[in-house]
Protein backbone atom coordinates (compact mmCIF):
# COMPACT_ATOMS: atom_id res chain seq x y z
CA UNK A 1 0.00 0.00 0.00
CA UNK A 2 1.33 3.42 -0.93
CA UNK A 3 0.87 5.99 1.83
CA UNK A 4 -1.05 9.10 0.79
CA UNK A 5 -3.45 11.65 2.17
CA UNK A 6 -6.38 9.58 0.84
CA UNK A 7 -4.93 6.56 2.59
CA UNK A 8 -4.62 8.40 5.91
CA UNK A 9 -8.23 9.59 5.72
CA UNK A 10 -9.64 6.15 4.81
CA UNK A 11 -7.64 4.34 7.49
CA UNK A 12 -8.55 7.03 10.01
CA UNK A 13 -12.27 6.70 9.31
CA UNK A 14 -12.10 2.89 9.42
CA UNK A 15 -9.97 2.97 12.60
CA UNK A 16 -7.09 1.15 10.87
CA UNK A 17 -9.12 -2.07 10.58
CA UNK A 18 -7.93 -2.47 6.99
CA UNK A 19 -4.41 -1.11 7.45
CA UNK A 20 -1.57 -3.35 6.28
CA UNK A 21 1.40 -4.04 8.50
CA UNK A 22 4.38 -1.95 7.46
CA UNK A 23 6.60 -4.91 6.65
CA UNK A 24 6.23 -8.70 6.55
CA UNK A 25 7.50 -11.10 9.22
CA UNK A 26 8.81 -13.85 6.92
CA UNK A 27 10.43 -17.18 7.67
CA UNK A 28 14.04 -17.09 6.46
CA UNK A 29 14.92 -18.69 3.13
CA UNK A 30 17.72 -21.28 3.31
CA UNK A 31 20.09 -19.05 1.30
CA UNK A 32 20.36 -15.37 0.38
CA UNK A 33 22.52 -13.46 -2.07
CA UNK A 34 23.30 -10.93 0.65
CA UNK A 35 22.74 -11.21 4.38
CA UNK A 36 23.00 -7.93 6.29
CA UNK A 37 23.64 -8.40 10.01
CA UNK A 38 22.19 -5.52 12.02
CA UNK A 39 18.69 -4.11 11.56
CA UNK A 40 19.61 -0.55 12.48
CA UNK A 41 19.49 2.41 10.15
CA UNK A 42 22.68 1.48 8.31
CA UNK A 43 21.76 -2.18 7.80
CA UNK A 44 18.26 -1.38 6.58
CA UNK A 45 19.48 1.42 4.31
CA UNK A 46 22.08 -0.98 2.87
CA UNK A 47 19.38 -3.57 2.11
CA UNK A 48 17.14 -0.90 0.59
CA UNK A 49 19.82 0.49 -1.74
CA UNK A 50 21.01 -3.04 -2.67
CA UNK A 51 17.49 -3.66 -3.98
CA UNK A 52 16.84 -0.16 -5.34
CA UNK A 53 20.19 0.79 -6.91
CA UNK A 54 21.65 -2.60 -7.73
CA UNK A 55 18.63 -4.86 -8.32
CA UNK A 56 19.75 -7.37 -5.67
CA UNK A 57 16.51 -8.35 -3.93
CA UNK A 58 17.35 -11.77 -2.48
CA UNK A 59 18.51 -10.01 0.67
CA UNK A 60 17.79 -10.47 4.38
CA UNK A 61 18.41 -8.18 7.32
CA UNK A 62 19.04 -9.96 10.64
CA UNK A 63 18.23 -8.07 13.84
CA UNK A 64 18.83 -9.44 17.33
CA UNK A 65 16.03 -7.39 18.90
CA UNK A 66 13.36 -5.39 17.12
CA UNK A 67 13.75 -2.64 14.52
CA UNK A 68 14.61 0.56 16.38
CA UNK A 69 15.81 -1.12 19.58
CA UNK A 70 19.49 -0.27 19.30
CA UNK A 71 21.29 2.96 18.46
CA UNK A 72 18.54 3.87 15.99
CA UNK A 73 16.44 4.68 19.07
CA UNK A 74 19.25 6.19 21.14
CA UNK A 75 20.69 9.01 19.02
CA UNK A 76 19.89 12.72 19.05
CA UNK A 77 18.48 12.72 15.49
CA UNK A 78 20.76 15.34 13.90
CA UNK A 79 22.00 15.29 10.32
CA UNK A 80 24.68 17.67 9.07
CA UNK A 81 27.76 17.74 6.86
CA UNK A 82 30.05 20.16 8.69
CA UNK A 83 33.19 18.01 8.55
CA UNK A 84 36.69 19.20 7.74
CA UNK A 85 38.73 16.47 6.08
CA UNK A 86 38.47 15.49 2.41
CA UNK A 87 38.07 11.79 3.34
CA UNK A 88 34.86 12.60 5.23
CA UNK A 89 33.18 15.78 3.96
CA UNK A 90 32.00 14.70 0.46
CA UNK A 91 30.48 11.54 1.96
CA UNK A 92 28.51 13.43 4.62
CA UNK A 93 27.40 16.02 2.05
CA UNK A 94 26.02 13.19 -0.08
CA UNK A 95 24.17 12.02 3.02
CA UNK A 96 22.57 15.46 3.53
CA UNK A 97 21.47 15.41 -0.11
CA UNK A 98 19.84 12.01 0.44
CA UNK A 99 18.13 13.28 3.61
CA UNK A 100 16.69 16.14 1.57
CA UNK A 101 14.70 13.72 -0.61
CA UNK A 102 14.30 10.80 1.76
CA UNK A 103 10.56 11.11 2.42
CA UNK A 104 9.67 11.04 -1.28
CA UNK A 105 12.19 8.26 -1.85
CA UNK A 106 10.79 6.02 0.90
CA UNK A 107 7.13 7.15 0.78
CA UNK A 108 7.42 7.57 4.55
CA UNK A 109 7.29 10.60 6.80
CA UNK A 110 10.72 10.62 8.45
CA UNK A 111 10.05 14.19 9.61
CA UNK A 112 13.32 15.45 8.14
CA UNK A 113 13.44 19.15 8.93
CA UNK A 114 16.29 21.35 7.70
CA UNK A 115 16.35 23.72 10.64
CA UNK A 116 20.09 24.40 10.57
CA UNK A 117 23.01 23.91 12.92
CA UNK A 118 25.18 26.60 14.55
CA UNK A 119 28.60 25.80 16.02
CA UNK A 120 29.27 28.58 18.52
CA UNK A 121 32.56 30.51 18.51
CA UNK A 122 34.09 31.83 21.73
CA UNK A 123 37.60 32.96 20.79
CA UNK A 124 39.69 34.21 17.87
CA UNK A 125 41.42 30.83 17.62
CA UNK A 126 38.11 29.02 17.43
CA UNK A 127 36.92 31.44 14.73
CA UNK A 128 40.01 30.61 12.66
CA UNK A 129 39.23 26.91 13.01
CA UNK A 130 35.61 27.39 11.96
CA UNK A 131 36.54 29.65 9.01
CA UNK A 132 38.78 26.86 7.78
CA UNK A 133 36.06 24.28 8.33
CA UNK A 134 33.44 26.43 6.59
CA UNK A 135 35.73 26.82 3.57
CA UNK A 136 36.42 23.07 3.51
CA UNK A 137 32.68 22.44 3.50
CA UNK A 138 32.17 24.84 0.59
CA UNK A 139 34.96 23.17 -1.36
CA UNK A 140 32.99 19.91 -1.09
CA UNK A 141 29.79 21.59 -2.28
CA UNK A 142 28.15 21.96 1.15
CA UNK A 143 26.74 25.22 2.47
CA UNK A 144 28.27 27.17 5.33
CA UNK A 145 28.00 30.70 6.61
CA UNK A 146 30.09 32.51 9.21
CA UNK A 147 27.90 34.47 11.63
CA UNK A 148 28.99 37.34 13.88
CA UNK A 149 27.74 37.67 17.44
CA UNK A 150 24.81 39.92 16.45
CA UNK A 151 23.59 37.39 13.88
CA UNK A 152 23.81 34.55 16.42
CA UNK A 153 21.90 36.72 18.89
CA UNK A 154 19.05 37.12 16.39
CA UNK A 155 18.82 33.34 15.99
CA UNK A 156 19.40 32.33 19.61
CA UNK A 157 18.51 35.28 21.86
CA UNK A 158 18.32 33.18 25.04
CA UNK A 159 22.05 32.37 25.37
CA UNK A 160 24.48 33.95 27.83
CA UNK A 161 26.54 36.15 25.46
CA UNK A 162 28.70 37.80 28.10
CA UNK A 163 29.90 34.74 30.00
CA UNK A 164 33.33 35.66 31.43
CA UNK A 165 35.00 32.42 30.34
CA UNK A 166 33.09 31.64 27.13
CA UNK A 167 31.69 34.88 25.64
CA UNK A 168 29.88 34.17 22.34
CA UNK A 169 31.74 35.80 19.45
CA UNK A 170 29.89 34.22 16.53
CA UNK A 171 29.07 30.92 14.95
CA UNK A 172 29.36 28.70 11.90
CA UNK A 173 25.94 28.04 10.39
CA UNK A 174 25.00 25.17 8.12
CA UNK A 175 21.42 26.01 7.18
CA UNK A 176 20.78 22.73 5.31
CA UNK A 177 21.52 20.61 8.39
CA UNK A 178 18.61 19.48 10.49
CA UNK A 179 16.87 16.77 12.44
CA UNK A 180 14.70 13.78 11.57
CA UNK A 181 12.49 11.35 13.44
CA UNK A 182 14.85 8.53 14.43
CA UNK A 183 12.22 5.75 14.53
CA UNK A 184 10.67 7.04 11.31
CA UNK A 185 13.99 6.61 9.54
CA UNK A 186 14.38 2.91 10.41
CA UNK A 187 10.68 2.18 9.94
CA UNK A 188 10.74 3.95 6.58
CA UNK A 189 13.81 2.08 5.34
CA UNK A 190 12.44 -1.24 6.67
CA UNK A 191 9.10 -0.76 4.94
CA UNK A 192 10.64 0.42 1.66
CA UNK A 193 13.18 -2.44 1.63
CA UNK A 194 10.44 -4.97 2.41
CA UNK A 195 8.37 -3.65 -0.50
CA UNK A 196 11.32 -4.43 -2.80
CA UNK A 197 11.47 -8.03 -1.54
CA UNK A 198 14.00 -7.79 1.31
CA UNK A 199 13.29 -10.14 4.25
CA UNK A 200 13.51 -8.43 7.63
CA UNK A 201 14.17 -11.06 10.29
CA UNK A 202 13.73 -9.70 13.81
CA UNK A 203 14.59 -11.42 17.09
CA UNK A 204 17.36 -13.42 15.44
CA UNK A 205 20.69 -12.87 17.09
CA UNK A 206 23.78 -14.11 15.26
CA UNK A 207 25.57 -16.52 17.60
CA UNK A 208 28.23 -17.77 15.17
CA UNK A 209 29.31 -18.11 11.58
CA UNK A 210 29.73 -21.04 9.21
CA UNK A 211 33.00 -21.04 7.29
CA UNK A 212 34.14 -22.60 4.05
CA UNK A 213 37.39 -24.57 3.67
CA UNK A 214 39.20 -21.41 2.45
CA UNK A 215 38.09 -19.45 5.50
CA UNK A 216 35.29 -17.73 3.57
CA UNK A 217 32.22 -16.81 5.57
CA UNK A 218 29.34 -18.88 4.17
CA UNK A 219 26.50 -18.32 6.60
CA UNK A 220 25.38 -17.43 10.09
CA UNK A 221 24.12 -19.43 13.02
CA UNK A 222 21.17 -18.18 15.02
CA UNK A 223 19.32 -19.84 17.90
CA UNK A 224 16.58 -20.56 15.35
CA UNK A 225 18.72 -22.20 12.69
CA UNK A 226 21.51 -21.62 10.20
CA UNK A 227 21.11 -19.25 7.25
CA UNK A 228 23.45 -19.43 4.25
CA UNK A 229 24.48 -16.44 2.14
CA UNK A 230 26.82 -15.66 -0.75
CA UNK A 231 27.81 -12.35 0.83
CA UNK A 232 27.61 -11.35 4.48
CA UNK A 233 27.63 -7.73 5.56
CA UNK A 234 28.31 -6.59 9.12
CA UNK A 235 26.55 -3.39 10.23
CA UNK A 236 26.30 -3.81 13.99
CA UNK A 237 27.85 -0.59 15.36
CA UNK A 238 28.82 -1.04 19.04
CA UNK A 239 28.75 -4.83 18.76
CA UNK A 240 31.24 -4.95 15.85
CA UNK A 241 34.14 -6.26 17.95
CA UNK A 242 31.93 -8.89 19.58
CA UNK A 243 30.84 -10.32 16.21
CA UNK A 244 34.28 -9.94 14.64
CA UNK A 245 35.80 -11.95 17.50
CA UNK A 246 33.57 -14.87 16.45
CA UNK A 247 35.45 -14.74 13.14
CA UNK A 248 38.83 -14.47 14.84
CA UNK A 249 39.21 -10.81 13.83
CA UNK A 250 40.40 -7.86 15.88
CA UNK A 251 39.18 -4.43 14.78
CA UNK A 252 40.56 -0.91 15.38
CA UNK A 253 37.48 -0.21 17.51
CA UNK A 254 36.66 0.26 21.19
CA UNK A 255 33.10 0.41 22.50
CA UNK A 256 32.11 3.29 24.76
CA UNK A 257 28.74 4.70 25.78
CA UNK A 258 27.40 8.16 25.11
CA UNK A 259 24.48 9.62 27.00
CA UNK A 260 21.61 11.74 25.73
CA UNK A 261 18.91 13.65 27.54
CA UNK A 262 15.46 15.09 26.95
CA UNK A 263 13.68 17.70 29.02
CA UNK A 264 9.97 18.17 29.60
CA UNK A 265 8.14 19.62 26.59
CA UNK A 266 7.97 23.39 26.24
CA UNK A 267 6.71 25.78 23.56
CA UNK A 268 8.92 26.24 20.48
CA UNK A 269 12.15 27.89 21.64
CA UNK A 270 15.21 26.59 19.82
CA UNK A 271 15.00 27.16 16.07
CA UNK A 272 17.57 24.52 15.08
CA UNK A 273 20.56 22.74 16.55
CA UNK A 274 23.41 24.54 18.24
CA UNK A 275 26.65 23.22 19.66
CA UNK A 276 28.90 24.48 22.44
CA UNK A 277 32.07 22.65 21.44
CA UNK A 278 34.20 24.42 24.02
CA UNK A 279 31.93 23.16 26.80
CA UNK A 280 30.94 19.78 25.35
CA UNK A 281 27.23 20.42 24.92
CA UNK A 282 24.76 20.44 22.03
CA UNK A 283 21.00 20.82 21.94
CA UNK A 284 17.95 20.91 19.71
CA UNK A 285 14.20 20.83 20.28
CA UNK A 286 12.01 17.97 19.12
CA UNK A 287 8.68 18.58 17.37
CA UNK A 288 7.01 17.31 20.56
CA UNK A 289 8.66 20.19 22.45
CA UNK A 290 11.29 18.41 24.53
CA UNK A 291 14.81 19.79 24.48
CA UNK A 292 17.11 17.00 23.26
CA UNK A 293 20.74 17.38 24.29
CA UNK A 294 24.00 15.63 24.96
CA UNK A 295 27.71 16.10 25.43
CA UNK A 296 30.75 13.93 25.83
CA UNK A 297 31.27 10.20 25.91
CA UNK A 298 31.48 8.42 29.24
CA UNK A 299 35.24 8.21 28.92
CA UNK A 300 35.96 4.51 29.46
CA UNK A 301 35.21 1.28 27.57
CA UNK A 302 31.73 -0.01 28.28
CA UNK A 303 29.00 -2.21 26.83
CA UNK A 304 26.56 -1.30 29.61
CA UNK A 305 24.16 0.83 27.49
CA UNK A 306 23.80 3.11 30.49
CA UNK A 307 25.79 6.09 31.65
CA UNK A 308 27.19 7.33 34.94
CA UNK A 309 26.41 10.45 36.94
CA UNK A 310 29.65 12.49 36.51
CA UNK A 311 29.00 12.93 32.78
CA UNK A 312 25.36 13.87 33.42
CA UNK A 313 26.62 16.58 35.79
CA UNK A 314 29.22 17.74 33.25
CA UNK A 315 26.73 17.98 30.37
CA UNK A 316 24.15 19.83 32.49
CA UNK A 317 26.79 22.26 33.82
CA UNK A 318 27.85 23.07 30.26
CA UNK A 319 24.26 23.51 29.20
CA UNK A 320 23.24 25.75 32.09
CA UNK A 321 26.38 27.91 31.71
CA UNK A 322 25.55 28.59 28.07
CA UNK A 323 21.77 28.68 28.32
CA UNK A 324 20.78 29.64 31.87
CA UNK A 325 17.06 29.06 31.31
CA UNK A 326 17.81 25.34 31.05
CA UNK A 327 18.09 25.38 34.85
CA UNK A 328 14.36 26.04 35.10
CA UNK A 329 13.42 22.92 33.18
CA UNK A 330 12.98 19.40 34.50
CA UNK A 331 14.88 16.50 32.97
CA UNK A 332 12.45 13.93 31.61
CA UNK A 333 14.64 11.08 30.43
CA UNK A 334 18.28 10.07 30.08
CA UNK A 335 19.72 7.10 28.23
CA UNK A 336 22.93 5.85 26.64
CA UNK A 337 23.91 4.22 23.37
CA UNK A 338 26.81 1.97 22.51
CA UNK A 339 29.34 3.76 20.29
CA UNK A 340 31.78 1.84 18.10
CA UNK A 341 34.63 4.32 18.53
CA UNK A 342 37.23 3.77 15.83
CA UNK A 343 40.88 4.58 16.42
CA UNK A 344 40.70 7.76 14.32
CA UNK A 345 37.06 8.65 15.01
CA UNK A 346 36.06 8.04 11.37
CA UNK A 347 34.04 5.15 9.93
CA UNK A 348 35.08 1.99 8.12
CA UNK A 349 33.23 0.77 5.01
CA UNK A 350 35.14 -1.95 3.23
CA UNK A 351 35.33 -5.33 1.55
CA UNK A 352 36.70 -8.09 3.75
CA UNK A 353 38.86 -8.68 5.67
CA UNK A 354 37.67 -12.28 5.00
CA UNK A 355 36.27 -13.70 1.73
CA UNK A 356 32.50 -12.99 1.32
CA UNK A 357 32.60 -10.57 4.27
CA UNK A 358 31.84 -6.83 4.14
CA UNK A 359 32.39 -4.45 7.01
CA UNK A 360 30.50 -1.31 8.04
CA UNK A 361 31.62 -0.09 11.47
CA UNK A 362 33.40 2.54 13.49
CA UNK A 363 30.72 5.24 13.20
CA UNK A 364 31.75 6.43 16.65
CA UNK A 365 29.00 8.72 17.98
CA UNK A 366 28.04 10.06 14.52
CA UNK A 367 26.21 7.28 12.74
CA UNK A 368 22.69 8.70 12.52
CA UNK A 369 23.47 11.49 10.06
CA UNK A 370 25.29 9.02 7.83
CA UNK A 371 22.40 6.53 7.62
CA UNK A 372 21.31 7.07 3.99
CA UNK A 373 24.81 7.57 2.53
CA UNK A 374 26.24 4.69 4.55
CA UNK A 375 23.58 2.39 3.06
CA UNK A 376 24.14 3.89 -0.39
CA UNK A 377 27.91 3.39 -0.37
CA UNK A 378 27.91 0.06 1.50
CA UNK A 379 25.38 -1.37 -0.99
CA UNK A 380 27.69 -0.26 -3.82
CA UNK A 381 30.68 -1.88 -2.10
CA UNK A 382 28.78 -5.18 -1.65
CA UNK A 383 27.18 -5.26 -5.11
CA UNK A 384 30.28 -4.35 -7.11
CA UNK A 385 33.06 -5.61 -4.85
CA UNK A 386 34.77 -2.25 -4.98
CA UNK A 387 34.67 0.78 -2.69
CA UNK A 388 32.30 3.61 -3.58
CA UNK A 389 34.22 6.73 -4.71
CA UNK A 390 32.89 8.59 -1.64
CA UNK A 391 34.20 5.99 0.84
CA UNK A 392 37.58 5.27 -0.77
CA UNK A 393 39.36 6.86 2.19
CA UNK A 394 37.27 4.91 4.74
CA UNK A 395 38.89 1.53 4.16
CA UNK A 396 40.14 -0.70 6.95
CA UNK A 397 43.75 -0.76 5.75
CA UNK A 398 44.15 2.98 6.32
CA UNK A 399 45.40 2.19 9.83
CA UNK A 400 48.12 -0.04 8.39
CA UNK A 401 49.18 2.47 5.72
CA UNK A 402 48.94 5.52 7.98
CA UNK A 403 46.15 7.26 6.03
CA UNK A 404 43.96 7.81 9.08
CA UNK A 405 41.09 10.34 8.97
CA UNK A 406 41.51 12.00 12.35
CA UNK A 407 39.12 15.01 12.39
CA UNK A 408 40.09 15.95 15.91
CA UNK A 409 43.79 15.11 15.69
CA UNK A 410 43.98 13.22 18.98
CA UNK A 411 45.52 9.98 17.72
CA UNK A 412 44.61 6.39 18.51
CA UNK A 413 42.76 7.19 21.75
CA UNK A 414 39.06 6.42 21.11
CA UNK A 415 37.72 7.94 24.33
CA UNK A 416 39.04 11.37 23.25
CA UNK A 417 37.49 11.56 19.76
Amino acid sequence: MRYSLFNVIVNGLTKNRFAERAWRDPEPKPEYDVLVIGGGGHGLATAYYLAKNHGITNVAVLEKGWIGSGNAGRNTTIFRSNYLLPGNEPFYEHSVKLWEGLEQELNYNVMASQRGIVNLIHSDAQRDVYVRRGNAMRLAGADSELLDAAQVRTLLPFLDYDNARFPIKGGLLQARAGTARHDGVVWGFARAADKLGVDILQNREVTGFTRGPDGAVTGVETPRGTIKAKKIALAVAGSSSRLASKLGLRLPIESLVMQAFVSEAIKPLIPGVFTFGAGHFYISQSDKGGLVFGGDLDGYNSYAQRGNLPVIEDVLEGGVALMPLLGRLRLLRQWAGLCDMSMDGSPIIDIGPLPNLYLNAGWSYGGFKATPASGWCFAHTIARDEPHPLTKAMRLDRFRTGHVIDEKGVGAQPNLH
Binding site: S241, R242, S245, I253, E254, A304, N308, M343, F399, N415
Partner: protein, 89 residues
Protein backbone atom coordinates in the same frame (compact mmCIF):
# COMPACT_ATOMS: atom_id res chain seq x y z
CA UNK B 1 32.13 4.58 40.06
CA UNK B 2 34.69 4.05 42.80
CA UNK B 3 38.13 2.75 41.89
CA UNK B 4 40.08 1.10 44.73
CA UNK B 5 43.52 2.64 44.24
CA UNK B 6 46.20 0.35 45.74
CA UNK B 7 47.83 3.38 47.41
CA UNK B 8 44.91 5.73 48.25
CA UNK B 9 42.00 3.33 48.73
CA UNK B 10 38.57 3.67 47.11
CA UNK B 11 38.39 6.95 45.18
CA UNK B 12 35.91 8.48 42.76
CA UNK B 13 36.66 7.61 39.12
CA UNK B 14 36.65 11.38 38.42
CA UNK B 15 40.08 11.56 40.11
CA UNK B 16 41.53 9.27 37.42
CA UNK B 17 42.43 9.73 33.75
CA UNK B 18 41.69 6.86 31.40
CA UNK B 19 44.29 5.27 29.15
CA UNK B 20 42.51 2.11 27.95
CA UNK B 21 43.40 -1.52 27.32
CA UNK B 22 46.29 -2.70 29.52
CA UNK B 23 47.12 -5.80 27.48
CA UNK B 24 48.96 -4.48 24.37
CA UNK B 25 52.71 -4.65 24.86
CA UNK B 26 55.01 -2.27 22.98
CA UNK B 27 56.81 -4.36 20.33
CA UNK B 28 60.53 -4.46 19.67
CA UNK B 29 61.25 -1.70 17.14
CA UNK B 30 64.20 -3.70 15.77
CA UNK B 31 62.09 -6.77 14.92
CA UNK B 32 61.94 -7.55 11.17
CA UNK B 33 58.12 -7.28 11.17
CA UNK B 34 58.07 -4.25 13.48
CA UNK B 35 55.72 -2.24 11.22
CA UNK B 36 53.10 -4.99 11.34
CA UNK B 37 53.54 -5.48 15.08
CA UNK B 38 53.21 -1.73 15.72
CA UNK B 39 50.00 -1.64 13.65
CA UNK B 40 48.53 -4.31 15.94
CA UNK B 41 49.83 -2.60 19.06
CA UNK B 42 48.58 0.90 18.21
CA UNK B 43 45.27 0.12 16.52
CA UNK B 44 43.87 -3.38 17.04
CA UNK B 45 41.91 -4.20 20.19
CA UNK B 46 40.06 -7.21 21.63
CA UNK B 47 37.40 -4.80 22.96
CA UNK B 48 35.74 -7.50 25.09
CA UNK B 49 32.19 -7.36 26.46
CA UNK B 50 32.93 -8.61 29.97
CA UNK B 51 36.19 -8.94 31.90
CA UNK B 52 38.68 -6.25 30.84
CA UNK B 53 42.15 -5.16 32.05
CA UNK B 54 42.66 -1.42 31.66
CA UNK B 55 44.98 1.40 32.74
CA UNK B 56 43.90 4.41 34.78
CA UNK B 57 46.20 7.22 35.98
CA UNK B 58 45.39 8.58 39.43
CA UNK B 59 46.03 12.17 38.32
CA UNK B 60 44.20 13.84 41.22
CA UNK B 61 45.61 11.45 43.83
CA UNK B 62 48.88 9.55 44.20
CA UNK B 63 49.74 10.02 40.48
CA UNK B 64 50.46 6.33 40.07
CA UNK B 65 49.36 4.24 37.08
CA UNK B 66 46.79 1.68 38.18
CA UNK B 67 45.73 -1.46 36.37
CA UNK B 68 42.03 -2.16 36.91
CA UNK B 69 40.12 -5.36 36.19
CA UNK B 70 36.59 -4.26 35.36
CA UNK B 71 33.57 -5.85 33.73
CA UNK B 72 32.57 -3.70 30.74
CA UNK B 73 28.98 -4.98 30.91
CA UNK B 74 28.35 -4.15 34.58
CA UNK B 75 31.22 -1.74 35.48
CA UNK B 76 31.98 -3.98 38.51
CA UNK B 77 35.66 -3.79 39.50
CA UNK B 78 37.15 -7.10 40.61
CA UNK B 79 40.81 -6.20 41.21
CA UNK B 80 43.30 -3.33 41.06
CA UNK B 81 47.10 -3.25 41.26
CA UNK B 82 49.90 -0.86 40.37
CA UNK B 83 50.46 -1.01 36.60
CA UNK B 84 54.10 -1.98 37.04
CA UNK B 85 53.02 -5.09 38.98
CA UNK B 86 50.44 -5.94 36.33
CA UNK B 87 53.10 -5.79 33.65
CA UNK B 88 55.24 -8.29 35.55
CA UNK B 89 52.30 -10.66 36.12
Amino acid sequence: MLIPCPYCGARDAEEFSYRGDATPVRPDAAAPDAAEQFHDYVYLRDNPAGAFRELWYHSAGCRRWVEVERDTLTHAITATRFAAEGRRA
